[in-house]
């Protein structure tokens, strides 16, 4: 038994080129570094021929797989000689066995062979199913390495390409996401997490779209790849296969969707949309002479409704009069307040400038929306400044308004040169 581990070398039969001895068996185990295979070729071959090489022979093997069994000097129907062709091992090992039996009728010379380590192109040798690399394979002398498409990271297995896909947080009330590259095959060897965090008071509902393809196993529940939904600290489900989970009701405002993939498979992944619904508040009725906005058939948490009044009316909230008021649907399904009522605007008694007097337009001296009043000065010695003639109206804003002065009030000023006591008339003489 001989071993050879050089990158190249020679193997010859005993006594070559003299006749080889009888009853001899020699084995050469040739090994070269990984990444190479052994190429062997014979430059001389002359062994005693026999039917199916029963007497003397050379056997070339790779890990007990026979690459060739040779004897004789020339090819025949039942015997083979190595010829000029080279024999290649499928890996970095090759074993050569020389056997001679008890007779050597014609003093055959044996064989002389050379071997050499030849680089293996691992990238080319594998079939598509046995791809060494997930994305790209690069051969070099004595080995190979893998690389990934942009955006992917080479997994520690140096073969598959994974992605960093954790940490996504979705805070909108609705949205959606999918496995990476969906509907193209998803990355291998990855753990993705998608977190939905909406306000307390809302609950999340997931809807997986019909196109769903996650690697599964016919007998075991999701041993390879799976989509995991966790809500409220509990796992709601672990999904794989070709059938969409459809609607998943979480009853929580915090939902985590994890997607685990192993280092194999070529599946298309999944996508989902999510919606949130809040606690339902009772339907509101508009106040008399008022409006609600928006008007909906149902209201849920976080919905707002703005209450306003028709022109000439104002909302009364306690002792306050307001132009508008907002009601909020709360997380417990109640409104933040009752609907305030609309009351007709009352301008109140006008501020009367000194020396002025007011005459209301209606018999009941109404000061409510639409009422009118006229200002004038007491006596002839005073006049309004500015000298307006139009009346004031109680405007929808609750303020007395004049078309000429707006909300300003005139003042009463004396007319110049007018005594309050007239000069006595003189008598004609």
């Amino acid at each position: 038994l001989s071993s050879a581990s050089e990158m190249y070398g020679t193997v010859r039969s005993p006594n070559f080129p003299e006749a080889y001895p009888r009853d001899t068996e020699l084995r050469w185990n040739i090994s070269v570094p990984r990444g190479y295979h052994v190429q062997l070729y014979f430059t001389h071959f002359d062994l005693e021929p026999s039917y199916l090489c029963e007497y003397d022979f050379v056997k070339v093997e790779v890990e007990e797989v026979v690459l060739g069994l040779f004897c004789g000097r020339e090819e025949s129907d039942t015997e083979q000689v190595p010829g000029m062709g080279a024999l290649s091992s499928s890996n970095n090992l090759l074993s050569l066995l020389f056997h001679s039996d008890f007779s050597d009728q014609e003093n055959h010379a044996g064989f002389l062979a050379h071997y050499a380590a030849v680089d293996v192109d691992e990238c080319q040798e594998r079939s598509d199913e046995e791809q060494l690399c997930d994305h790209f394979c690069h051969n070099f002398i004595g080995g190979y390495y893998c690389s990934c498409r942009y955006g992917y990271l080479l997994h520690t297995d140096n073969r598959t390409c994974r992605v960093e896909c954790s940490g996504g947080v979705y805070r909108q009330r609705s949205g959606g996401f999918s496995s990476v590259d969906h509907p193209l095959p998803y990355p291998k060897s990855s753990d993705c997490s998608y977190s939905i965090q909406v306000e307390e008071g809302l609950v999340v509902e997931l809807l997986f779209n019909p196109t769903f393809d996650v690697e599964d196993h016919p007998d075991l529940p999701c041993p390879y790849d799976y989509v995991q939904v966790i809500a409220g600290g509990k796992e709601l489900g672990r999904y794989c296969g070709g059938r969409s989970p459809g609607r998943v009701v979480t009853k929580s405002h915090l939902v985590l969707v994890n997607f685990h993939t192993d280092d194999s498979g070529d599946n298309l992944g999944w996508s989902l949309t999510y919606t949130t619904t809040g606690s339902q508040c009772p339907v509101l009725l508009s106040p008399a002479n008022g409006l609600l906005n928006p008007i909906q058939s149902e209201y849920s948490f976080r919905d707002h409704v703005l209450v306003t009044c028709l022109p000439g009316y104002k909302l009364r909230k306690g002792e306050e009069y307001l132009d508008h008021y907002q009601l909020d649907c709360q997380k417990d399904g109640s409104w933040s307040s009752d609907v305030p009522q609309c009351q007709m605007v009352d301008c109140g008694n006008p501020e009367v400038p000194p020396l002025a007097r007011v005459v209301f337009g209606s018999h009941d001296n109404s000061t409510r929306f639409g009422a009118t009043m006229q200002l004038s000065c007491e006596g002839d010695a005073f006049q309004l400044q500015p000298n307006i003639t139009s009346s004031y109206n109680c405007s929808e804003g609750g303020i007395w308004t004049n078309s000429e002065l707006g909300t300003d009030l005139p003042t009463c000023i004396p007319v110049c040169g007018l005594p309050s006591r007239p000069l006595a008339q003189q008598q004609r003489r």
Binding site: P354, L355, A381, F382, I413, P414, V415, C416, G417, L418, P419, S420, R421, P422, L423
Partner: protein, 278 residues
């Protein structure tokens, strides 16, 4: 006012009393004059009432703190019941000539607005000279003047007649507001009456005379700055055409000694310039 009548309260509601003290004089002097209320803040009067008596030729107004304005006053004994204001601005006419009283007109701005009542009201201004809606006083038309000045010619101090506003001796002045109606004198007669005297008086176009040839009715010391008002025929409103300015050295109300008044219609634009900026 000589030969006048007591003015009932409210007859002349623009009439104001000016109490003045001049500490620059030696000894310090006190006197009073009159003025006419134009608006909530402004009073029209004669410049000589507010002219500080300095010994050089420059015209210096009195310090504002030396002037007090009484409004709505009828009886000078009731000053404490009347509306009182201080002054924050004294505007003598820039061309006032103390030697001949040419341009004898001034404005006072009250430190805060006054509220108009039946006793406190403004007087109108005439149209500017040359616009004949409100003509400058035509000869022989009657005007009305009021004041708390000397009412008896025999009590007048002849030594001060050239400065009719200087004294405030309670023994010679009226306690209640007096008024008198006086006709406007032809300008030629006015000039002639003063030209015949030994002293050379200069009657300018900024002055007019009012009074009676025979005397008896006149304004006098203490009436200075008061308004010579005339009534508009159409609207029955009174406008200030003159300001009591000066008179001859004789007793007030003497024969052919007309009172001389500042012709206000010559100064309308000057007045409005200051009122408009307020």
């Amino acid at each position: 006012v000589v030969g006048g009548r007591a003015a009932p309260p409210g007859l002349v509601p623009w009439q104001v009393l000016l109490a003045v003290e001049d500490a620059s004089r030696v000894p310090a002097a006190r006197w009073f004059g009159a003025g006419a209320l134009l608006s909530e803040r402004w009073v029209l009067t004669a410049a000589h009432v507010l002219h500080s008596q300095r010994r050089d030729a420059s015209v210096v107004p009195l310090e504002t703190e030396h002037i007090t304005v009484f409004l709505g006053l009828h009886d000078v004994r009731d000053k404490h019941h009347s509306t009182r204001r201080s002054v924050d601005q004294v505007l003598l006419h820039p061309d006032f000539q103390p030697l001949n009283y040419n341009n004898d007109i001034a404005l006072l701005r009250l430190d805060r607005p006054v509220r108009f009542t039946g006793l406190i009201r403004p007087v109108c201004l005439p149209k500017p000279h040359g616009q004949d809606d409100w003509p400058t006083p035509l000869p022989n038309t009657l005007g009305l003047v009021a004041g708390w000045g000397i009412s008896s010619p025999s009590k007048a101090s002849s030594g001060l007649t050239f400065h009719p506003s200087l004294t405030s001796d309670p023994n010679t002045t009226s306690e209640t507001l007096q008024y008198v109606k006086l006709p406007v004198v032809e300008q030629a007669e006015c000039e002639a009456s003063y030209a015949s005297r030994s002293l050379a008086y200069n009657i300018t176009r900024n002055m007019f005379c009012a009074g009676f040839y025979e005397g008896g009715r006149d304004t006098c010391l203490g009436d200075s700055g008061g308004a010579f008002v005339m009534q508009d025929e159409g609207q029955q409103r009174w406008a200030v055409f003159g300001l009591v300015s000066w008179g001859g050295p004789e007793d007030c109300g003497s024969q052919r000694v007309y009172g001389v008044y500042t012709r206000v219609s010559n100064y309308i634009s000057w007045i409005l310039t200051h009122l408009d900026t307020d």
